[in-house]
């Protein structure tokens, strides 16, 4: 990405950008930019304070575990929305397999009450590491250390014709909530015989198997309710980048009549009026419904606060403390990070953020208390549904080896689909347990 003045202004001025929950809803792309207030919001007393920014899969856990591990620390969790809608399992809602968004929605009241976490509902406009404060739309918060779990935003400037209104016509639904509802409604309103076009970006992006799961579930929906319709998945990557043998088998077994996967198709231009997307200006794909998932980077607040690396996209962090090399006292976890890795990195997933949050919490405390930090050892488990009653998974252990995060064990489900029904049941419990852990 070239970083000229125009795109810089576009970045820092992007009103839709400051989604601080790992997956929060932001649809009001026409809103005025958020303005920070300089007055102190909650003056710091004698207790040492950690401010956690972002109430998603990473931030809730970091806040909770700091309080579980050391009650002497005051924890303030700053989050824009009163409710968090999970991206994992939102594809079921999009594809009409559940009508209940409550099952993937959590609030913060119990978490705050159970652990003595102070909630601040505000939008963060600046992380000021030099002054050790977080600036929000409601005022500033001083901290001793800050943990940021900001999630992602989109590099829409790389798509010609993409503007503040495009996501309303071509929903990404890659931050769950109103965007999920929009895509769901478009699918349901589409007449039978229509074409759905999905476009997914080059890696790295949030939730590697997510677009493929979505393709299965939308194809399932079409097969069942709109059998004359079809789905085309345009993958910017040359080939399937996650659980390839499992998804390709699901596509060829269940959806061969209404689904087409095409690799190496990077959408570079949109034509909202013409209901089409273009690949390098040489090939157009027309769709009655277009689900355009743009390329991604760390949330805009990270760009604005100077916390992204030389690539201007992702946040470098220390592999043990998750501290930013660019801002002392600021620790970053979750989708926004680029962890030093040996081999395939931890995926940008909810479970990764959960695992990282715990080590970040422990090591932030150890640094504050003058104790040795501990080396990382965490897990990633991602279930992906391939139909309304079958799922596949990837299960991975990660730990620290020679200063980098490496996986000593990574494996996907057996290709014979012998476990898909059991994994579907386990997947549902995964959701229940991880959302309960985040909200109580």
């Amino acid at each position: 990405m070239t970083f000229d003045r125009r795109s810089f202004i576009k970045l820092v001025g992007s009103a839709s950008g400051l989604a601080l929950a790992g997956c929060a809803t932001t649809t009001g792309s026409g809103d005025a930019p958020a303005v920070g207030k300089t007055a102190e919001l909650m003056p710091k007393g004698s207790a040492r304070r950690v401010v956690v920014v972002g109430g998603g899969y990473g931030g809730t856990i970091a806040a909770k575990y700091i309080r579980m591990l050391d009650k002497s620390i005051e924890v303030v969790l700053v989050e824009k929305s009163k409710q968090f809608v999970s991206c994992p399992f939102s594809n079921f809602y999009i594809a009409g397999m559940t009508n209940d968004m409550n099952a993937i929605t959590i609030g913060y009241d119990k978490l705050a009450a159970n652990h003595g976490i102070k909630m601040v509902y505000a939008e963060v406009t600046q992380i000021d590491a030099a002054a050790k404060k977080v600036v929000t739309t409601e005022g500033t918060l001083a901290y001793d250390r800050c943990i940021v779990s900001p999630g992602i935003d989109f590099r829409t400037e790389e798509i010609e014709g993409y503007n503040a209104k495009t996501a309303e016509a071509f929903p990404h639904a890659w931050k769950a909530g109103a965007q999920s509802t929009l895509l769901r409604n478009q699918l349901q309103a589409m007449p039978d015989g229509g074409t759905v076009v999905m476009s997914m970006p080059l890696t790295p992006y949030r939730c590697p198997p997510g677009p493929y799961e979505r393709s299965c579930l939308i194809a399932h929906y079409l097969k069942k309710h709109k059998p004359k319709s079809k789905l085309i998945l345009l993958d910017a990557n040359p080939d399937v980048v996650s659980k390839k043998p499992l998804f390709t088998k699901a596509w060829s077994t269940y959806y061969k009549d209404n689904f087409q996967y095409i690799g190496g198709k990077k959408v570079t231009q949109v034509n909202v009026a013409g209901k089409s997307v273009s690949i390098e200006g040489i090939e157009d794909f027309k769709g009655d419904v277009i689900n355009l998932i743009p390329p991604q980077r760390a949330a805009d607040i990270m760009v604005k606060s100077g916390l992204v690396g030389d690539d201007k996209r992702w946040c470098p962090v220390d592999a043990i403390s998750f501290e930013s090399p660019k801002a002392k006292g600021v620790h970053i976890i979750g989708d926004a990070t680029a962890l030093p890795s040996d081999g395939p990195p931890m995926p940008k997933s909810g479970y990764s953020a959960n695992s990282q949050a715990k080590f970040c919490a422990q090591n932030v405390l150890n640094l504050m208390n003058g104790k040795p930090t501990v080396e990382f050892s965490g897990i990633n488990v991602c279930y992906s549904a391939i139909s309304d009653h079958e799922s596949v998974s990837i299960a991975q252990v990660f730990n620290l080896q020679n200063g980098k995060i490496k996986s000593p064990a990574t494996a996907i489900s057996p290709a014979d689909f012998s476990l898909t029904k059991a994994e579907h049941a386990y997947g549902e419990s995964w959701l229940k347990n991880i959302l309960t852990e985040m909200s109580t």
Binding site: K358, P372, T373, V374, S393, G403, P408, S429
Partner: protein, 193 residues
Amino acid sequence: MKMKKSLVSWALVAGCTFSGAVMAAPPTPEMLSYACAGCHGTNGGSAGMTMPSLASQSKASIVDAMKKFKSGDRPSTVMGRLAKGYSDAEFAAMGEFFSKQKFHPTTQMVDAAKAKRGEEIEDANCSRCHIDQGKDGKDDTPVMASQWLEYLKMQAALYDSGARKMPKDMADKWNKLSKEDREALLHFYASVK
């Protein structure tokens, strides 16, 4: 991370590595175990109906289960794949952690009549090993009380299909029970708090 070779060998001997100037210790039992919470709940108390609670299980039962998952002796979906990423010493550390966590009672719908019948069966057949109505994990005997009925049913199906092997003492009792009595037993264990 910069690290001199001599430091690396020293660190390996001491079981530590360096991150910049700060010494990093190997992950503690707590930190190893916290990673399990994504599926098994905070401190091993499960809220998911197909997922067992690990809280208050005996160290021996956790270590035994993990070794069997790792070798494939016990059937699983993700557990065996994850177990391959851990050493026996790490299984022991995690087993120690979960054994110290408080028993996790659950509130779930069970059939009262079945649970009552199950209590009689439990008392006559299971209570010598699964002591205190399955609330107390002894040696390598797992805590049965308050496990989710759905999870218990899935495990019973694995036993009945022969995919999961049963200890001989247990098989002697279990194989004599009717289908209805087996189900009643599961309803009972699910109801114990």
